[in-house]
Symmetry: C2
């Protein structure tokens, strides 16, 4: 039985809402259940760590939570092991994953989350790196990480910011669905298309879809299925 | 003085046109200048090599050109060295580059194009791999190539299928411009945003923009500049 306690957000912003505002109740439910008062923020997916940490602090402090930046800690591994909760923010997934490898934080974070049950919140790129690999990110590969394998806190892939193909476009680039189907064709593994404003909450071996929109599952066999808000997604945790 | 003779298309399809139709005069100008009668097609960016080669054949045969698939050749290096022209088609850039590395074709193609002057036509992913690296592809990283370094037939990066941010979207994912600006911030190298229907023609040390739309250059210093159709882009070949 895994001790994991995850909240994987599609995005930190949702149209018409302030930063993280749409996910406030999801965040607070998690924080309150574990008596979290201080969040350790991992800002590596963007370039300005101080500014990014301030953005998160400005969102969470009014709700009663302190925010510290992992980049301000002399010993990141130690800081992670002492954290009440870890929040890995979005930005560029390739940059984020490369930095986690460079700082040798992949295994420490993985052990803390899976064995010690330290709550992990990811948003966008922070959600991508929480899954088995970053193969299904939308980001541009601006840097070359040593691997696409990620934290594997869950054994499936997520496509954050998932959105439908635009039927009206004249653009001839691949649609999001075509790109995800390409991944499935090569790997025969499922990808959860997570629309903005939705999240996956994982506690131990139980997973649930949160938010007001359905999620589209691209199955390993090439078929797809929509899951309604609040659906039980625990079956996705049983993949080997 | 490089012998290179390139036609780098943003895309093989343009709204309102048949496959490659918008680029017919660009292709035929190149083929006629070198008396090309048979094109060696590299279909590795898509999964069905036979079907993909047939698509290209169906476009080029009515114009009087034969098309052969590189995948049908027992000795790909030898086939490339005997080719009248090489056409590398679009699809997934990561898959294409990984396959070129697996078949050990990077150096052979590079030498044939730069030293022997064999005409190289690339489209979309085939254009990405012709540049210094695939860091500025739009594709999903569905497979992990051994490097993002590519053929480097030109010393700058291209973003194919370039398009403006959609001012009306409610979507909170990064815009294309933000993604490209991120690459520039990390590398301080220029990226040519090549809109669908446009191409770069390179002969030796001369480069020109072809097609009816301008191209947007993201400069290494972070500024941008639009270049009108038919602009001389030779300065982009002088980067070290």
């Amino acid at each position: 039985m895994s001790a994991r306690n995850l909240l994987l957000l599609s995005s930190s912003r949702l149209y018409g809402h302030g930063y993280l505002e749409h996910a406030r109740s999801q965040l607070e439910d998690l924080f309150k259940s574990k008596n979290v008062k201080t969040v350790l923020f991992v800002p590596f997916a963007l370039r300005d760590y101080d500014k990014y940490t301030a953005t998160v602090r400005n969102a969470l402090e009014p709700w009663g939570y302190a925010v510290e930046g992992l980049h301000t800690k002399a010993d990141p591994s130690k800081a992670l092991s002492e954290a009440q909760a870890i929040f890995v923010g979005g930005g560029n997934t390739f940059v984020l994953l490369r930095t986690l490898y460079e700082l040798q934080l992949i295994e420490p974070i993985r052990k803390l989350v899976l064995n010690q049950g330290i709550p992990y919140i990811g948003s966008s790129a922070g959600t991508n790196v929480a899954t088995r690999s970053i193969h299904t990110t939308n980001d541009m590969p601006v840097v070359y990480p040593p691997s696409f394998n990620a934290l594997a806190l869950v054994p499936f892939n997520i496509n954050p910011h998932y959105l439908e193909p635009d039927a009206n476009t004249h653009h001839k680039g691949e649609t999001r669905d075509e790109r995800i189907e390409e991944f499935v064709a090569y790997h025969e593994l499922p990808v959860l298309g997570l629309r903005e404003g939705t999240s996956v909450r994982v506690v131990g071996n139980h997973a649930q879809l949160l938010g007001k929109l359905p999620a589209k599952l691209f199955k390993g066999n090439g078929s797809t299925e929509e899951f309604a808000p609040e659906s039980d997604l625990s079956f996705l945790l049983q993949i080997d």
